[in-house]
Structure formats: structure tokens, C-alpha cells
């Protein structure tokens, strides 16, 4: 009995993990290595067979000459910065409000959580309809006050703000949930002490709550930044990167290179570059989390 216990102890620890590691190796590590190999190749689909040709740095040179790449990078960065800051701000305000109105907190949280669980495609289609030039609710409301609304998604100046608005509608909830967790962990006594000392409501938040929230805010913003780089679904449905290249983001462009132009090799190089940039973000994030020791 004792002997079996001793032998089994360490074994279970390993065989419980091994199948998962095998899956991760086959379905994530191998694909990443495959991606590296694809990025230095030309891949042609000939008579149902993939034909690989090693081309070395050719794809990289193509990327440096590709005029859409800088546009896509610029759009993605603008998009990420805008949504992260606006959503963090709104999320924080919402968290403060919900935290004060204790009575309906659960209901508010439930409603605010919903956008995160709805398929982004459904969100895209709802907003596509709202933005529609002829039948959309936004233009109908404008018509009621005598204004003729623009073609939101077809206008090069409006398309980008329009997709940013959809993202804010979609993801503010995420920042809200993180901020709410931070706010509720602050002891109520602190606010009360400050108020008793005669601090104005604004001062209570600015001088006392904000410093305590700073870790949560930083962690939340970093996380949101990483996720914002994934943006694809709504853009695909709303504008597909158009009009022109005004809403072209990195994921959208890679998709087009893969499945519009069937350039698997070149697309893989772009994907690899994106992955490398993201690794840097993830490392910075992980190190911050371990240092800050913040648990949300």
C-alpha cells in the first residue's frame, strides 16, 4: 500500500499534463514552426498538390516594398490607441458609477457583460444595419430632425471613426469588468475617512481612489492593447478594410493576402512579423504582472 502510494505520487503529476503538452506541441508549436517555414517559401497550389519553393528573404523584401503594409500598421496602431484610451476611461467611469449605485450592481454587470459574449459577427451585422444609408436607424433619426445622414461606412472620412465606435460599444464592458474588480477591492472606509476630513467628491477619486487603482488600470490597459490587435470580425463585416484602405488593419490585410490573393508564403511572413511583435507585448505584460503581483 505504502509502496504504491510512493510510486503513484509523482507519476500522476506528469501524466496529467503530458496529453495537454502533446496537444500544444502538435497544434500550436508545430504550426508556429510551420509558419516560419512558410514565410521563406512560395507556395503554389498545383493540381491539388502544394508546391513549396524556398525563396529566402524574398517575402521580406516584398513586405518592405508593399505600400499597403505601412497603411495597415498605421491604421491598426491608431485604432488600438484610440479604443484602449477611450474604453479605459469609459470603463473606469462606469465602474465608479456602478460601485456607488450598489442596488443594481449585479443587473448592471450582467447587461454590461453581454457584448463580450455575443458573436462579434452579430455585433457587426447589427451596426451595419444601424449605419445603413437608406434603412439605418441612425440616418432615420437624423431625418426626423431634418438632417440627411451620410453613408457612414462608404465615406472615407467617416468609416474609421464608425468602426472605432462599434469597438467601443463592444469592448468597454471588458475594461469595466476589470476596473470594477479594482474598485470593489478598495475598502469603503477609505472614502468615508476622506469625506469626513472634508475632501470634495472629485478629490476623493483623484487623490485617493486613482492612486490605488493605478495598478489595475495599467494591467487592464495592457491586456486590452494586446486584445485590440486581434481586431478582424467586425471590420470584415462592416467595411472589409474599405473604402480604399481607410479601415485596413493588419489582420484584415493578412486575410486578404492569404485568401484573396492566395499568397500563402507572403501572408505567412506578415503573420510571423505580427506574431513577433505580439511576443514582445506578451513578455512585457507577463513580467509586469509578476512584478506588480496584481490579481484582478
Amino acid at each position: 500500500m505504502k509502496l504504491r502510494w510512493k510510486i503513484k505520487q509523482p507519476l500522476f503529476k506528469y501524466w496529467a499534463v503530458v496529453p495537454t503538452i502533446l496537444i500544444l506541441v502538435v497544434l500550436t508549436l508545430y504550426p508556429v514552426l510551420q509558419l516560419v517555414r512558410m514565410s521563406v517559401s512560395d507556395i503554389e497550389y498545383v493540381e491539388g498538390q502544394m508546391e513549396w519553393t524556398f525563396v529566402g528573404m524574398k517575402n521580406l523584401r516584398t513586405m518592405l516594398k508593399d505600400s499597403v503594409v505601412p497603411v495597415a500598421i498605421k491604421n491598426t496602431l491608431t485604432y488600438v490607441i484610440l479604443v484602449v484610451f477611450i474604453e479605459s476611461f469609459l470603463g473606469l467611469i462606469l465602474a465608479f458609477l456602478v460601485n456607488q449605485v450598489k442596488r443594481f450592481a449585479t443587473a448592471f454587470r450582467a447587461i454590461l457583460m453581454l457584448p463580450l459574449l455575443i458573436p462579434p459577427v452579430a455585433i457587426g451585422s447589427i451596426w451595419r444595419l444601424l449605419y445603413d444609408y437608406n434603412y439605418g436607424a441612425i440616418n432615420k433619426i437624423l431625418a426626423l430632425v431634418g438632417l440627411s445622414g451620410p453613408a457612414w461606412l462608404a465615406n472615407p472620412n467617416l468609416a474609421f471613426p464608425a468602426v472605432v465606435v462599434v469597438d467601443i460599444w463592444h469592448w468597454t464592458s471588458f475594461m469595466f469588468l476589470i476596473m470594477l474588480a479594482g474598485v470593489t477591492s478598495i475598502p469603503v472606509g477609505l472614502y468615508e475617512a476622506a469625506r469626513v476630513d472634508g475632501a470634495s467628491e472629485f478629490k476623493v477619486y483623484w487623490k485617493i481612489v486613482m492612486p490605488l487603482m493605478s495598478k489595475t488600470i495599467i494591467v487592464g490597459m495592457m491586456l486590452r492593447t494586446i486584445f485590440a490587435f486581434k481586431v478582424f470580425d467586425q471590420i470584415y463585416l462592416l467595411t472589409s478594410g474599405g473604402p480604399g484602405t481607410t479601415t485596413e488593419v493588419i489582420s484584415m490585410y493578412i486575410y486578404k493576402v492569404f485568401f484573396g490573393q492566395f499568397r500563402l508564403g507572403y501572408g505567412s511572413l506578415l503573420a510571423l512579423v505580427l506574431a513577433i511583435i505580439m511576443v514582445i507585448f506578451v513578455i512585457v505584460y507577463r513580467v509586469t504582472i509578476l512584478k506588480v503581483g496584481k490579481e484582478v
Partner: protein, 251 residues
């Protein structure tokens, strides 16, 4: 609400923009029984893919998460595994699309349910392991010690003591995995080309065509697509916050 209203309106209503509201289920009927429509198959696919993904992901990751969180791992290998999971979770899915497409083609699961399940397992595994770790860590150590003193093997401790008491957490994880599989668009879009393996989001996107958008059916389909999310929020709100804000955990 707007979605629901629109989907109930007839296509004619939408085009004429008449404010007179005439509720009808015609869009839903067309969606499921129209001769051009294969929507019911997409619904079935979405359920089968979601279900299989849940079974595979939880089957593997509950063991892994328990071992990693409770069975005394050296910090280095544990951190390597956790970092890799975080890396996979945080990569834009487009990074995996190319290799997955080629793998699926090569082993003949392109345009089938299995191909999409493969991608969804990758999509969900990191989240599931991370979430489950949190639940296992909240179990008091004394329970395991008591089981060990009674001569219970580690496997039996896990199976008969730990699993039953973490059941609510596991159920919440399962539901979240299902939702994330249900709402995925990019993998389902790129790994399928016919209704054989397509899921609901891909179906919705096909209503948006170059010159005409079938708003009525699109809205009806979108409404069906958001039902699971509503159910989840109603029944498991408390448990899923952690999963959605994953990575903000110390781990």
C-alpha cells in the same frame, strides 16, 4: 432589441422603411426552411463543434490545470507552460490561420467539422487551463491531505474529492468554452468553404453580399446567434468574469 425587431419585420418593410410595425416570423421561417437556406445545418454544426470542443478541452485541461496548480511543480517548467499558454491566447488568431489551413488540407479535414474543432481547441485550451487553475487553487489543501492520510491515490483524490467540489467552476468554464467556440468567426471562415463545416457566424456573413444585404435574414440569424450569450449571463454571471478577464490573474 433592435435586432429582434428588425428580424421580425418583413424584408419589404425594411426596404420601404415603413414605421408601421408588423411583427412576423417570416424571416425566421425563411431562414430555416427556405430552399436557398442551409441555416439549420449551420446551427447543428455550431452545436456539434461547440460540444466537441468543450469535451476535448475540458477532458485534457482539467487534469493539466490540477497538476500545474496543486501538485508541486518546479516554478521554471510551470512558468514555461503558462507563458506558452498566454502566448497562444494573446496571439491574433490570424497568426495560426495559414498553418492550420495547410494542416487541414494535408490531413483531409478541411471544410469539415473536425477541422474547425481542431482550431477551436487551440483557441480555448489556454483560457480553460487558466480558469480551472483558479478554481483548483481555491480548494483548501486540508482536503487533499485528509484524502492522502486515508490512503487515497492522487488520481482518486482528484477524481473523487476535488472534481466534485469544483463542479460549478468546471461547468462555468465549459459554458465559456462553448460560447467562445460559438462566436468564433475567423477560424470557421477560413477552414470551411461549404455548409458542411460552416458555423452560424459564417452564415451571417454570407448575407452581406456585394450589392445587396439581406437584412431581414441577417438580423434573424444574428438574434439566434446571441441567444446562448444571454442564457449564459442569466445563469452563470458570477463565475465567468474571471474567464473573460483572463491573464489579469497572477497565476
Amino acid at each position: 432589441m433592435f435586432t429582434l425587431l428588425t428580424s421580425l419585420k418583413q424584408l419589404v418593410d425594411i426596404i420601404t422603411g415603413s414605421i408601421v410595425f408588423n411583427p412576423t416570423l417570416a424571416n425566421y421561417k425563411e431562414l430555416f426552411t427556405g430552399y436557398r437556406s442551409n441555416f439549420s445545418q449551420l446551427v447543428t454544426n455550431s452545436f456539434v463543434i461547440g460540444g466537441l470542443t468543450v469535451v476535448i478541452v475540458l477532458g485534457f485541461s482539467s487534469f493539466a490545470a490540477y497538476s500545474l496548480s496543486r501538485l508541486g511543480w518546479h516554478p521554471l517548467p510551470r512558468e514555461i507552460i503558462l507563458f506558452w499558454l498566454l502566448f497562444v491566447h494573446m496571439q491574433p488568431p490570424i497568426v495560426f490561420i495559414g498553418p492550420f489551413y495547410l494542416i487541414a488540407r494535408k490531413i483531409g479535414i478541411y471544410d469539415s467539422i473536425l477541422g474547425v474543432v481542431m482550431a477551436h481547441v487551440v483557441l480555448n485550451m489556454p483560457m480553460a487551463i487558466w480558469m480551472l487553475q483558479g478554481f483548483f487553487e481555491s480548494v483548501p489543501k486540508e482536503l487533499e491531505e485528509a484524502a492522502a492520510i486515508d490512503g487515497c491515490s492522487q488520481f482518486r483524490t482528484f477524481w473523487q474529492v476535488i472534481l466534485p467540489i469544483t463542479r460549478p467552476g468546471i461547468a462555468a468554464t465549459a459554458m465559456l468554452v462553448f460560447i467562445f467556440s460559438w462566436k468564433d468567426f475567423l477560424f470557421a471562415l477560413t477552414l470551411t468553404s461549404t455548409p458542411k463545416g460552416m458555423t452560424i457566424p459564417v452564415g451571417i456573413s454570407t448575407f452581406v453580399q456585394a450589392y445587396s444585404i439581406r437584412y431581414g435574414e441577417m438580423s434573424a440569424a444574428s438574434f439566434i446567434a446571441i441567444i446562448p450569450a444571454i442564457l449564459l449571463v442569466v445563469f452563470a454571471q458570477k463565475h465567468i468574469v474571471k474567464g473573460m478577464t483572463l491573464g489579469a490573474l497572477k497565476g
